[in-house]
Assembly symmetry: D2
């Protein structure tokens, strides 16, 4: 039985970790960390957990937690994990960090886009970027996994095979992404109020969103070249779900079947990636509550572009589900253990 | 391994049965019945099931189905089950009927409220009303279970202990219920279009909704007297969830603690019924996706009334979840097998 | 040209006042009061007002405002208006107070339900309860109008004719009301976040909501007796709209036509009250954006109860629209000036 | 007083025409055409119009209508207007066609994208494309105006000044558009049901949506070259609103101020186009219910692209509002008569 600690258990991603882990047969949650709700019953903060979780929220004492837990999930704001991590802690426990602290290899890029000083750059190289379908083997042996961002998971996986195979001109790649509002977190801010989000849609972080360099770095590895893209996130009046619509110019003449073969080559045996049938485009509702990524594409002969589309549940494959998938890999469990979630519809 | 057939597998209740049963470890679905989609792939109708269900939809051949299946779920319009059921079929298989055909013991009441002739009144007496928490023992041995309606499940369970203990004046009982739109089914009707439901709320079926006699009959058994109530359903712009707000005059002076003890007496050991802490009122979101019923109450000293509130997911405890719970009982499985669903939030 | 000042212009009710008054041909807004946004451009707080309102937000200097404005709207938290009002101010300007400060004639009742001390009880008797359809004549000559609450406007108007005519047993009256989320205001609180409200429904303030004594007082005047009711508000995932479903036992045998005649007697010549055709029940969407109240009823012969239903836009007839209606009356303008708003659908 | 006839008055665009025209001081609606609801009271189909519209729906007799009406709005499916128009009709009345029949000058392009034969190609050249801000003078004298599509209005106006001034490389233009569900019409189709749209987002018509050639034609005129773009529409769970996010490579080095000057040059004196302040991006809610187009942009130095964003209410500026704007121009009325609608928020 794996002993698991969660720091930041009362954010939406942390709460989703709890939802997944209480049903995971090999796991026991031993620490529900939440600075904001110390000593309060967890089920009083998330009442869906009434009679399911009896524990109270605890402060984030990393030293003590490292003793008790086989693995710690940090579902915390940027900077937290980097500020508490140490060799001593990593020698006793493993960490899956859901923040951006260890996602970007170039510390300057991190500090520029996030506007904070990185407190533990010495662990950046060791950290494994936990996009399981791409870095599976490295994750298995990692002590520290940087769990990818929600937008980035969706954006990267949607384009990855074509970047890798050199089918698309990376300099033309544009990612127009749309997210449900849980991605904005549970902080009490006016722009996230029901009446401000409902019946509304907007772009935000235009040409400046922090997930941009993460997508660029990972797709750059795939393409074998530096990648610089446009990434535009949008806020959608729904709780969960990310849809990424991606545009790129084709570098060579390819047929739909050839592209389908490429996706099949990379994802054909992936449990969590579903390349949809021809003509069927992803919808966020079809993956809601699950760890699936639904992907499809369309070639536009008129413009010589390919339009790629991907959909995930931002809290599952975009956060907690992927974190559990990483944990499963790190501890030699079946990769989909506790994650064979059937999407809920409607 | 139980072999299960579903007739009406492409309605919302049928689709929820599929969602629950594909994850049920003792069950194999052998028949996805759907008159509207015969020979089409089930996963083309409900694309969340892509790569999870490979089967195609089939017509509803009861004779053949009775051969193949240990249990048949009929998630069909009123009148269907009564028109196809027979002694021969019941001798070979069990039936959980999600329609109203066998819920009401008085065939005249059924025919009056539903406006159709009952084709198999001879099975009405045998049928067990499958509200598991109340009729558990009868369900275990039943061949034919009448799965309760969504509004009725919520309305009855919320008031049942107080009706049973004679605490409330049944002639004063008023049930004001609110439902998500999946309760209206998947039929393509203008009033159920997104733009008609969204940003809107209304009462419907005022003083005439068909779930009224079902609530009256069951609460009448509990109270030991004929019961005649007001039941008003409302349509709410959300997918899932029923909230019942119930009002009744107290027959005697009771304290909150005494009432709490009564709920505890009836529901204290029930897995699926959660009587909330004092002052915490049910919210539909806290049970979404699960088979839980959340219940609480408040006594108003000023008016000598008690306000009881209950919340369920209309597609789970209000339909498919309860149907599976009944199946578990009928086949000697643990009652919550396949139903330990953690509510999804947000 | 009436000069109008608004205190609390950046709350939802204040913003709705702005929306209505900028289109009102006899009005000029001279003061956009907002403590939270002093010196900021109003259109930066409510960007729908870009190029429509050029003014900046100002502090709430009542003395100065009384000089400049013919009428002041206080769309402020409870207690504010009572704390700043004075004979001097009332001698120079008129006030329409959208808070509860002057709605309840019994100061003890106010202080008990609102939990604050009333700072200006000397003006309570003078204040006119601004439910125009009932107190029209008194409003015309008032210096200080207490604009009714949103729930109360809907709840009172729906039952008023039957209370007045003695048709219903007031001791049996139960009001089950449902409101869109703008009623909760623009304060940044976790329970009002999109993800907490969306796909959710709950009761709140059960047997304790502050609008209860206001409804009781006004319906008490109508019925000529003390009235004590159950009032249960619910939060609905929509921006605007209140639906009140009200239940009462009939005191005498009446037909639907007789009841319809009573509604006709009181509301037949009212511009803003629409008694719907038989069998058509109010929906909040049909009044959205307008000052209409849609009302209908159904008699249940089985229980001898009448179910009355009313729908309003909580920000218009439930707040700003009614405030403008009061202003029109106070200044001798046509009562519906600036309020002939056509409901927006969908 | 202009006499106005509407054919297709019971679709969402037709109903919005009614909403706008009943408040238009120079207009009388003399014909509420609706094949589906002949002889039914219009207010029984759209109950928001109760006591506002007393008329009944009528069949679409063009000859009779041409006698009675000074202008006819055809808010009908593609092909209808072309099938009924004639020189005789145009000699007696003017037509604003909200369908696509006369939007595209090349009849082959129309027939290819719409898959139907054009019944009146002889009127295509005469028809004026009614994007008022661009073709204002031609509209004034037109007998037949082709009212632009919803997506196209938003997409074209957002990019028009930069296309016209040769700032952007038109071969790189990508339009990623998101629309509320009223754009899908009031037809009772399963994909438009509340439960299918709510909590869901998807792309549709990828590389094949019919508004593509319309955008290309109009931006081609502006740019003075043939234009071939990618246009991807998405369905969003909200009633109203279109947001277009557009990407293009800059042809020359320009500053934000220079681009702002260009927008100012074209739109600085336009009543309905609001170029937002720097750093403020359009949100659909800020234009809801109004005829405004909110536009802004951001230059991404890293990729040398400009991201342009535009928002409209699809039923107002995207359909009925623009139709009324055209009517105003055609009859010499102030262009914004009846259209000084303040956006409704929240």
């Amino acid at each position: 039985m794996l002993k698991v600690g969660i720091i930041g258990a009362t954010g939406y991603a942390g709460a989703e970790l709890v939802r997944l882990l209480v049903s995971h047969k090999d796991v026991e949650i031993v620490w529900f960390g939440s600075r904001s709700y110390i000593d309060q019953k967890y089920a009083d903060v998330y009442r869906n957990m009434f009679r399911i979780v009896d524990a109270r929220c605890m402060d984030d004492n990393m030293a003590e937690l490292a003793e008790e837990a086989d693995v710690i999930f940090t579902a915390t704001p940027q900077g937290f994990c980097a500020s508490v991590i140490s060799e001593e802690i990593l020698s006793r426990t493993k960490i899956v960090d859901l923040s951006a602290d260890f996602r970007i290899k170039d510390v300057d890029v991190y500090e520029k886009w996030y506007g904070i000083e990185h407190k533990s750059p010495q662990f950046i190289q060791e950290a494994v970027y936990g996009l399981c379908e791409i870095n599976r083997e490295d994750v298995r042996t990692a002590r520290l996994v940087a769990n990818p961002g929600c937008y980035t998971t969706c954006s990267i996986l949607t384009a990855y095979p074509l970047a890798k195979e050199g089918i698309i001109d990376m300099s033309t790649l544009i990612v127009d992404a749309k997210s449900g509002t849980s991605g904005a977190g549970r902080g009490a801010k006016t722009p996230n109020l029901f009446c401000e989000v409902n019946e509304n849609m907007k772009a935000y972080g235009v040409a400046s969103h922090r997930h941009t360099p993460e997508i660029e770095e990972q797709l750059g590895y795939a393409a074998g070249e530096e990648v610089c893209i446009n990434f535009t996130p949008h806020l959608v009046p729904m709780n969960r779900g990310i849809l990424a619509t991606e545009y790129a110019t084709l570098k060579k003449k390819v047929t739909e079947d050839q592209v389908r073969d490429i996706y099949e080559k990379y994802y054909g045996s992936e449990y969590f990636i579903r390349v949809l049938d021809p003509g069927v485009f992803p919808e966020t509702k079809w993956v809601e509550g699950s760890n699936f990524v639904d992907i499809n594409f369309k070639i536009d002969q008129r413009t010589n572009r390919i339009i790629m589309m991907g959909a995930i549940d931002n809290l599952v494959k975009g956060a907690a589900g992927q974190a559990v998938q990483n944990m499963n890999l790190m501890f030699g469990l079946p990769e989909n253990e506790g994650l064979k979630l059937v999407p809920i519809f409607p």
